[in-house]
């Protein structure tokens, strides 16, 4: 039973990676900010970095929720 839950959780992590990749390419990729002259690449990277950190935090939060949901009985010693 526990092994099935672990496999399910690994599969969920994989699905979240695929979805995260889609968001990164569709949203993060096309972002292009101009008007800051030579600072354009830096500003672009900072904005993309902030979004990437936000996505990572969202990934961890979703994973934490799912972990609690899947392993609730196990954690409840």
């Amino acid at each position: 039973m526990m092994h099935g839950q672990l496999l399910g959780f690994l599969f969920l992590m994989w699905v979240l990676i695929i979805i995260g990749g889609a968001i990164a390419v569709v949203i993060l990729g096309p972002i292009s900010i101009s008007g800051f002259g030579e600072f354009d690449p830096l500003i672009n990277s900072i904005v993309k970095g902030i979004i990437a950190i936000g996505l990572s935090i969202a990934w961890i939060l979703i994973l934490t929720k799912m972990k609690n949901l899947i392993f609730r009985k196990t954690f409840n010693y």
Binding site: H3, L10, W14, A22, A24, G29, P41, S45, L63
Partner: protein
């Protein structure tokens, strides 16, 4: 492609036999010098030699030097230097027992040769959706990758043979993914990692004769991360490593700070009278992959290892599927 067969075969033979032949004398040397630690999961007072990272790094350096002689690629130098620096960091930790932040900071510095040698491409490739160009952000990814792969392999090194056995499965699946993506040169650079791990597994599996130590685990993890960067297979590498990532995630989610596991008093698993592993009922103890595996029923160390290997094989399958998905665009 055919011109790569000889370097590939020679480097794999050298990688395997360097570790296979140097580990027994290393075990004797370490035992003679009293460089041993207790195996907490065994009956009696069983002392095991440590660190085995010395023979692991010997196998990696010897095989990669041979590959460099044939191919003269910057990527080989980057992988070699980063891996060696990770070994040095792990060896210092083996000897001095440094604090929780030492390894992440050290591994971040170990990643710098990849940047300085320019052995990377700043496009991050995802399955089905293509690539995203992140020139400056990618530098941070390089550093995070080495820190994460090094530490996750180190964190899964909890039972006899797990770190080396897990690395055999993960690294060979990464090599297969690189072949699928027709990145043949990096695939060949990655092969020695699997053969080094396989040779070390012979002495690391139950009944263990030598522990890899932090030097061994960080060496294997950092090389894996470096290959993922130079081969542009970061996402595939992360997928193959998922059970170890899950273990680190559970650790951080329950401890909520970066700390060396040796600094924590409450252990996640206990031993039964017949030396099986069972989950602790102590609510203060951290949650780990092993604790989840034995949550319902106590299992022997060997049985837990096999469950971890099954999880690794499942992730390896997902990694190979991900490699095929890289070929398709939505």
């Amino acid at each position: 492609m055919t011109e790569l067969i000889i370097p590939a075969v020679v480097s794999c033979i050298v990688a395997f036999f360097t570790v296979y032949l140097t580990t027994p004398p290393l075990i004797k040397f370490l035992q003679k010098r009293n460089y041993t630690v207790i195996d907490k999961h065994k009956k009696g007072h069983v002392m095991i030699a440590r660190p085995g990272g010395i023979s692991i790094i010997a196998g990696i350096i010897a095989s990669e030097i041979i590959l460099y002689a044939f191919l003269q690629m910057n990527e080989i130098l980057a992988v070699m230097i980063t891996t060696f620096l990770a070994f040095v960091i792990g060896y210092i930790d083996d000897r001095k027992g440094m604090g929780g932040w030492f390894k992440p900071i050290g591994l971040a510095l170990a990643a710098l040769p990849i940047i300085f040698l320019g052995a990377y491409d700043s496009d991050l490739a995802f399955p089905l959706f293509g690539e995203v160009h992140i020139p400056i952000l990618y530098l941070a990814i390089i550093i995070f990758m080495i820190v994460i792969t090094g530490n996750t392999i180190n964190s899964i090194d909890v039972l006899n043979g797990v770190a080396s056995g897990f690395m055999v499965i993960a690294s060979f699946s990464l090599s297969i993914a690189l072949f699928i993506l027709q990145n043949y040169e990096i695939a060949i650079i990655s092969l020695p990692l699997g053969f080094v791990s396989l040779a070390f597994y012979k002495y690391h599996k139950i009944p263990c004769k030598i522990f890899p130590g932090d030097s061994g685990a960080l060496t294997l993890g950092a090389m894996y991360g470096a290959i993922a960067i130079v081969g542009q297979v970061e996402v595939i590498a992360a997928v193959a490593l998922l059970p170890a990532v899950l273990n680190s995630f559970l650790f951080l989610a329950s401890v909520k700070k970066i700390v060396d596991h040796r600094e924590l008093n409450e252990k996640p698993v206990e031993l039964t009278d017949d030396f099986k592993l069972k989950a602790t009922k102590n609510k203060k103890a951290r949650i780990s992959l092993v604790r989840l595996i034995v949550a319902n029923t106590p299992l022997s160390e060997k049985e837990v290892c096999y469950v971890i290997f099954k999880l690794a094989l499942f992730s390896a399958g997902l990694a190979i599927i991900t490699a095929f998905m890289m070929e398709f665009k939505v």
